[in-house]
Amino acid sequence: MNGEPVSDIYLVLTFPVTEPERYISVRTASHQEIHLIHSLSELDISSQAAVREDLERRYMIPKVVAIKMIKRQGNHWLWDVETSYGKVAFRTNQPQENIDILSNETYIIRDTDGRRFALHVSRLDKRSKLFWNKII
């Protein structure tokens, strides 16, 4: 990757949700950083694909692309959403405590099963935004 071949390395996304394609730390098996990829676009197309594939395996955070419904039931909120991993329904406790704000527009939702869903507000459609604004 860096001129000389290195084996047995792994990749770390330093901003897994807000910057999924930038600031990628390349580390050896003994956790030494050997390179920080500032942006995937620095790499040639085939390396990009390889990196993407590897990252996809290491970071399993579905992204919410549309909210079909958010309903409250007792102390729970039932969500019906469309994600990058397909349709899914999940449950959260108090949104207050289970939605982490990463930036003005990026959020992490944690459900009662410990799953995490990323959400980019600007990528939601109008209807989803309506639901979202009621919650947050």
Binding site: H76, S84, T112, R116
Partner: protein, 726 residues
């Protein structure tokens, strides 16, 4: 077909799409089934070389190595990670052994806990049962709580009924008066009739005033007691919670819950219930009167009620949501104030005052907007309802007037009827509007009961025995632990500490040293293995008793807002001044305390901010000393203090550790040299143990850590290990 001895669930398919999948392990093979139970993969056991679990952020994979290369057998998100982790060792056994005893204890699967209230299966252990958390359970909890006040409540009920009845009388008496005046009877009869009736009317008004006074008095006393008890129970419930409860929550919101939410409920219990019942009763009684006066006209009036009810029902969920978001933004504002004040030094140091103001204004205006929008919703209801009612009254005057003209009704009856009608719509209007209030109250009650009914996570065994004299023998048996599911902090810790031994625990920052201590104090329970004190499992010892026997000085010292003496005596409030001074002397704190003008009575300020870091530490040491525990734990602060203070703290520690089992998380060389035995923790594993010399000679991790530290600083002081970590 062979029976499966283990089933593991997955929820992602090859295309990274959600799909329920499962692998079945039978004695001779493993099978992967899709959602419909169709077999999509099949590997005979003899082809499997090993099975690995690859953990990713948010999930993981099970991969089988075969002669032809690795085969992914299952992919899953976080929710199934834990059960796979737990199953892994048995799967490994299955792979390695020829004859695997397929015992079908399904303890490897997620144990399905059932809800203690309704017996329904719950989906995850931490989760509270959904069915039991409905609105009605909130209402029934409220009712249960009010049972304690049944005597006052009954008094209240009687008063309410009386009040309602009494308030019904005046229009009827006025009807008699009007009919009396307008009827062409002898003058004398009328005037004495008039006197009687007016007297009666006055009497009724006096009675009404009296009843209102008693009602108000009872209501206030019920509400006040209710408020007190709710707050008490809520605070007690918070104290009972284990550390994880606080780790996962924004703690400052509970200040709001204890204050505002209980207040909302108080208002409801004192005024709300009275109003609600009296309005309901009035509506019913008045309706009866209306029917009695003229049932045909009354039927006509009732026509608009069903649509009105429907309308309120439709609005109900929306209102509920609005109240929730209003609450949420009010909590947000509150958190912001709390955080800003706690961090005021940083804010000033970076001159971020204006940004903070802006942030606050934004949150505040959001809160205001939400409040306004709730009020608006009901603002428009009021005029609409009033208009509605007025129109009906006009209609009644017309219809009733014609009846009077036709002689079917007296003028008095008509006037009474019109008055009752207005009175009838009063409660109806109130009830419609109170939908908003009731929602607010239910929201508050839910939040309160959520806290009160959350069970503590770390619990003692039921047959926990009292602890006699503690010798201080500590044993960790294969302990594994993680704060969250997605990250293990400690792995397979095996450890034995003899009574009276002094252990020095060292390792790079983040190795899990403090975590090891948290487990001993039972702030958390280990996920795997067990910890024994004097040969007894920690869970068989009552937590308070356990902690009374362990004196801890934490890495970050926390002092309560009180005097120095109060802080030192925190674990032992009966301590005499004599003992406090003795403890302070042992902790080398006495001298600096004497230099303070108010001595031991110096107020330390919130979190002890009026003292320096080193001073705070020594007070914390004195606090542990005064407790005189058989086990002492010192988590040395990584922050460096000046050499002199450090020597003072060091000396204090030396005096303190004598005759106790001591664990010191050490960052200073002098501590390390003094320890009977050193344990080196790296990456959550115990990697080395032995005396200072032994470990130095071995030239392993300890040597590396120490060497780097000394090389970097030159003097014999342990520097924070962050820089040496890797």
């Amino acid at each position: 077909m062979e029976e499966a001895w283990l089933t593991l669930q997955g929820d992602l398919n090859r295309n990274m799409q959600f799909e329920q999948l499962q692998v079945l392990f039978t004695a001779s093979k493993l099978l992967v089934l899709d959602r419909e139970g169709r077999q999509i993969l099949h590997i005979p056991k003899q082809n499997v070389e090993n099975i690995r679990l690859i953990e990713a952020l948010g999930g993981g994979y099970l991969v089988a190595s075969t002669a032809k290369g690795p085969v992914e057998i299952l992919r899953f998100t976080e929710m199934h990670l834990d059960s796979c982790r737990k199953a892994l060792s048995r799967v490994e056994q299955w792979v390695s052994k020829d004859s695997f005893t397929t015992d079908k204890r399904n303890d490897l699967k997620d144990r399905n806990k059932t809800c203690a209230h309704c017996g329904r299966v719950m989906r995850s252990a931490k989760d509270s049962c959904m069915r039991c958390n409905r609105k009605w359970s909130t209402v029934s909890h409220l009712l249960q709580r009010s049972r304690a006040y049944s005597a006052s409540m009954i008094v209240m009920g009687i008063i309410v009924i009386l009040t309602v009845l009494v308030s019904l009388a005046p229009p009827y008496i006025i009807k008699w008066i009007i009919d009396g005046i307008s009827a062409p009877v002898g003058m004398g009869g009328v005037s004495s009739h008039l006197l009687w009736m007016s007297g009666l009317l006055a009497g009724i008004y006096i009675l009404q005033a009296l009843l209102q006074m008693i009602e108000g008095y009872t209501a206030i006393s019920i509400g006040g007691r209710f408020l007190g008890e709710l707050r008490r129970d809520m605070f007690h419930a918070l104290m009972k919670q284990s550390m994880r409860f606080f780790d996962n929550r924004q703690v400052s919101q509970y200040i709001g819950r204890i204050n505002q939410d209980t207040d909302t409920i108080k208002d409801f219990m004192s005024q709300g219930i009275v109003h609600l019942t009296s309005q309901l009763l009035s509506a019913l009684f008045i309706l009866g009167m209306l029917f009695y006066l003229d049932w045909r006209m009354t039927l006509m009036i009732l026509i608009p009620l069903p649509p009105l009810g429907l309308f309120v029902m439709r609005l109900w969920p929306k209102v509920r949501e609005m109240w929730y978001s209003q609450w949420q933004s009010s909590i947000h504002v509150q958190n912001m104030v709390g955080e800003a004040l706690q961090g005021i030094r940083i804010i000033k140091a970076f001159s971020k005052e204006n940004d903070e103001k802006e942030r606050f204004d934004k949150a505040n205006s959001r809160f205001v907007n939400r409040m306004i929008s709730i009020q608006n919703l009901w603002m428009f209801m009021t005029p609409v309802l009033t208009l509605f009612i007025s129109l009906f009254v006009a209609l009644i005057w017309f219809a009733g007037g014609r009846k009077v003209l036709e002689g079917g009704m007296t003028v008095g009856t008509l006037s009474a009827y019109a008055t009752y009608l207005i009175m009838f719509f009063g409660p109806v209007k109130w009830l419609a509007q109170s939908a908003s209030w009731i929602n607010e109250v239910l929201g508050s009650a839910e939040r309160i009961f959520e806290v009160i009914h959350t069970p503590a996570e770390v619990t003692d065994d039921e047959e926990a025995q009292p602890l006699s004299k503690v010798r201080g023998e500590i044993r960790y048996n294969h302990v594994g632990f993680g704060y969250a599911k997605d990250r293990r902090i400690l792995h397979g810790i095996d450890l034995h500490i003899a009574p009276g031994e002094m252990i020095g625990l060292i390792g790079p920052s983040g190795a899990g040293k403090s975590t090891l201590i948290h487990l001993l104090c039972r702030f958390y329970d280990p996920d795997e293995g067990e910890i024994l004190l004097d040969g007894r499992r920690l869970s068989s010892i009552r937590q308070e008793e356990l902690r009374k026997n362990i004196g801890v000085v934490f890495q970050e010292t926390f002092l309560f807002d009180g005097t120095i003496a109060q802080n030192i005596a925190y674990g032992n409030p009966e301590a005499e001044a004599q003992d406090i001074i003795q403890a302070a002397m042992t902790a080398n704190a006495h001298d600096f305390i004497c230099r303070l003008p108010h001595g031991y009575e110096t107020k330390v300020g919130e979190r002890g901010h009026r003292l320096s870091g080193g001073e705070r530490q020594r007070i914390a040491i004195a606090r542990a000393v005064l407790l005189d525990p058989p086990i002492l734990i010192l988590d040395e602060a990584t922050s460096s203090v000046d050499v002199e203070t450090e020597a003072a703290i060091q000396e204090a520690m030396d005096k303190v550790i004598q005759g106790r089992t001591t664990i010191v998380i050490a960052h200073r060389l002098s501590t390390l040299q003094r320890a009977d035995r050193l344990l080196v923790l790296e990456g959550g594993r115990l990697v080395e143990s032995g005396s200072h010399e032994e470990l130095l000679n071995r030239g392993g991790v300890y040597h590396r850590l120490l060497h780097a530290a000394q090389g970097a600083s030159g003097r014999e002081v342990w520097i924070p290990m962050q820089e040496v970590a890797r």
